[in-house]
Symmetry: C2
Subunit: 297 residues, 2 copies
């Protein structure tokens, strides 16, 4: 169970290593959305995504003497763990699908990690991971279903709470890009304690909305496939065992957007916020712009 | 004469309106440059550039009862002044060349300004401005040669000084994208007072390096043309009468980069920092990556 105390402890451990990212907005985006829209620009985070937070939180909580870590990821968690491991002076082995974006593979290697590629279609990732972990004594850091990883991602929620307060915003829908739900669950936990009228809603690609369906039905639902959308960073088989119960308790109904809406949101973020959002990182902005929920203020 | 006190006063007036922008870096950029490189991401500023600072500083220092303001700009100063005027509830009339980037014209109008377009080739901008100003009683806010504008841009220097100190950096070359020299002069003034071993060097497009030539010769030099580079935001006829003496006193020799180097820097900023830099905003990064000066640390 991830608590506010665990999130605050993670925030203290990552101070000076992880960036406080800005909350950006632009009048033309507000006009398009018909309401005020603010974007927490985690693409500006160290390693390019919020995954640096979870990576740091997990690696910094390992027992002294841990020889190395193992992570499975199509790219962002890979970079977050590789970066955090290097900064702690420990070995990182990252299991990545061979069709992961080239820049993510290159960056993961640039952080000093050993990258092991596997074929999504023909190889069993979990079996490979179990063998690597056993053979080389590596501690596994899963991408979302892990208390310290959720606590690390929850530090985004602490920042949103204080930034919103400084801007005089006391009620808002907080739309969160959602794969396995680590970021959503962490942010929801932080906001439930720090800003009770800022309420999380998950956003997923249409056709990969396992979390929305799980929240609606009350039972974990899986996706029929994990490829077929441009939002590669958030295509997961189903919700986490730790993350779903947190979101059932704290989040509103889930939202979903099409790849085309994600693409339009990327273009608008490029033009009006001057940030480069990847497709999976743009679905929350797409939902803010193109789905009807309720206004921020 | 712009002083530290004027810059600090401008910073106080703009608090809560202008963003403190992050100082971003990435290991792969450091590796490419062969030294540590940090980018002050003013493209994330309100209105998309540091010009919001000078616009706010100038508009907020106008005498009460000023009926409106007039600015001439190909885009960034236009948006900065239009935004600041709207926030202060006063009229803004902006004189823009008809070949200015469409998004900059649209944004300037979206901030509520009246945009007057003119033909660079056939119309006399200064005569047009003088007539508009006289006919309608508008206060002129020039793009760089104005003490309050320089003070406003100088707030970037205050932030760099405190961010560098927080990162343990006490000596660095501070490469600044330079058109008329308002930003360079403001930053140099702030750093001379707050961080004496952080030294400004101007960066201009090759062929439009009036400031570098003026600094080298000791006499104001002009450019043969003000078109012919993709760096539209920083193509000025010559250095300012206020800015040049400040830079003669405080800046190192000027640098220049090719359009192709600016283009490469834009691509690298996109990929590794996930920010969208316009050509004129990327010349300083281009100089950091592609010219040999001395290492940050």
């Amino acid at each position: 169970m991830t608590t506010l105390a665990a999130i605050e402890a993670a925030a203290a451990r990552m101070r000076g290593h992880v960036r406080e990212t800005p909350l950006l907005g632009a009048p033309l985006l507000d006009r398009l959305a018909g309401r005020r829209v603010l974007v927490k620009a985690e693409c500006l985070q160290v390693t390019g995504s919020f995954k640096a937070r979870g990576g740091w939180a997990a690696v910094s909580s390992l027992p002294t003497g841990t020889g190395g870590v193992l992570a499975m990821s199509s790219g962002n968690h890979a970079q977050g763990v590789a970066w955090a491991a290097a900064a702690h002076g420990i070995v990182a082995v990252i299991l990545m699908p061979s069709d992961a974006p080239g820049v993510k593979i290159a960056n993961t290697r640039a952080y000093g990690a050993e990258v092991v590629l596997y074929d999504r279609a023909t190889e069993d990732r979990d079996a490979l991971a179990a063998r690597l972990s056993a053979d080389r004594g590596l501690a596994l850091i899963p991408p979302f279903d892990h208390a310290e990883v959720i606590a690390g991602q929850g530090t985004v929620g602490l920042e949103i709470a204080s930034q919103a307060a400084a801007m005089g915003i006391d009620a808002a829908e907080v739309l969160v890009c959602c794969g396995g739900g680590g970021l959503s669950a962490g942010v929801a936990t932080a906001l439930a304690a720090k800003a009770t009228d800022l309420r999380v809603r998950t956003v997923e690609p249409v056709g990969f909305d396992d979390m929305a369906r799980s929240l609606a039905s009350g039972v974990a639902q899986s996706n029929p496939a994990t490829t077929g959308s441009i939002c590669d960073a958030i295509l997961t088989p189903g919700p986490g065992r730790l993350t779903l119960p947190i979101l059932q308790r704290l989040a509103g109904p889930g939202l979903s957007v099409t790849d085309d809406q994600a693409r339009q949101a990327m273009a608008l973020a490029f033009t009006h916020l001057r940030i480069v959002a990847e497709p999976g990182g743009a679905v929350a902005l797409a939902a803010a712009l193109f789905t009807r929920t309720c206004p921020i203020q």
